[in-house]
Amino acid sequence: MLTLPAFEWLRPANLDDALAHLANHAAESLVVAGGTDAVPNLKHRLHEPRWIVHLGRLDELRFVRESEGALSIGPLVTLSAIARHEGIRRDFPSLARAASLVASPQIRNMGTLGGNLCLDTRCTYYNQTYFWRDALGFCLKKDGVRCHVVPQGRRCVAAHSSDVSPVLISLDASVDISNARGSRTVPVDEFFVGDGVHNNVLVPGELVTRVTIPAASRGLRAAYQKLRPRAAIDFPMLSVAFAARVSDGGCEHARLVVSALGAKPRRIGGLDALVKGRPLDDALGEALAEAAYRQCRPLTNVAYDDAYRHEMVPVFVRRAVREAGGIA
């Protein structure tokens, strides 16, 4: 039996009320939507807020809209709603696929797009009960000063574990972020930072209010591949998102994102010269797999062997390229 810590309950009626509360009390508040990440973490005493700010009544953040070819999705849309949405399945199948592979059916019914995007990073030394963490000695992500993964490390290396974020980066998506004073738009590619303690650019008082996939990302050949111990429930121990623009003259450009290894998704660099003008075939998959293997360095931050995860990088990149290319 795992109990929740005591908190005060706030269920704002609309976005303005939520932002007004956060303007003054963000540091003492935890924002909860589906709760599938926040509630277990609360039970482990990884968050100890004075207030829980529940977003369940913010219907204004629950929408899927198309405008001039761009697709906007509200952060409170559930992952199962994204996975079964006909327009998303047709136009952005890798996003529907990623949403369909999050955890379990129950968690997809509860969990939201915004929640998966802002998922707390995960580490074998962090996602444990207070008792467990106390017994080993607290880590620098919560309550302590040292890192058990990299003992000399000054920076938290907990793993970014969102399934949707590598896909959104591969599709050039952006997020709208609001606080009580106004809003800003940030590309998902720049939304994450390489610090496992707090791995995104949200500052206290801000909420994600919209995710937008641009019209220019329609028609990309895209895929998402996920490695996990079981075919359900588990977080990724490796994930690969791929998207390429392919015309008669071969690939024009491509994005390859490898995640669940470090604190932020890694966009594999130097792809333009590699893919330009080439067909989306196994030879290109092999070249991309080699590039990804060279650029990725898994750590022992999750409970699965880092060498194994490294060796699986090229395997899953090849699979993603085959899937995107429609190679049986």
Binding site: L4, G35, V39, S80, P105, Q106, I107, N109, A231, I233
Partner: protein, 156 residues
């Protein structure tokens, strides 16, 4: 705080502290102990209930967040003392072994049949993929859902 929940078609009031999960409210405030407390952190599915037609984990739902929603628990499946066909089918196939995962399995299966009365075997396995059975009786559990679906289809 007063927490007003709609459970199995009835409106039920209970007094809770804000840090009460839906599972704790069901089991300890309303006496509905059919939903089981297993891992208590969203992994095992033993606490599965159906909220607004979709399977959900009551152990990681905050009770106050469920006000105004339509909750069905295992206690809501039988009608007038007559077991739901899914419950009968689990008995027939031997799909309930120790029985601890059974209420959660039944709720996931019920949510599936409510929206897809004739699921394929793969669709059943997918719908039950968030429910762990430590007796590992999965084959007979899937058999039971198939059996219940076929019997429902035969009824006029």
């Amino acid at each position: 705080m007063l927490c007003r929940l709609r459970v199995n078609g009835e409106t039920r009031d209970c007094a809770v502290v804000p840090h009460t999960t839906l599972l704790e409210a069901l089991r300890y405030a309303l006496g509905l102990t059919g939903s089981k407390q297993g891992c208590d952190k969203g992994d095992c599915g033993a606490c599965t209930v159906v909220i607004d037609g979709e399977s959900a984990l009551s152990c990681i739902s905050i009770a106050l967040a469920c006000e105004g929603r339509d909750i069905v628990t295992i206690e809501g499946l039988a009608r007038n003392g007559i077991p739901h066909p899914l419950q009968d089918a689990l008995d027939v196939t031997g799909g309930a072994q120790c029985g601890f995962c059974t209420p959660g399995i039944l709720m996931s299966a019920w949510a599936l049949l409510e929206r897809n009365p004739r699921p394929s075997r793969d669709e059943i396995a997918l719908a039950l993929s968030g429910n762990l059975c430590r007796c590992t009786g999965y084959t007979k559990i899937i058999d039971a859902v198939e059996l219940a679906a076929s019997q429902s289809a035969e009824r006029p």
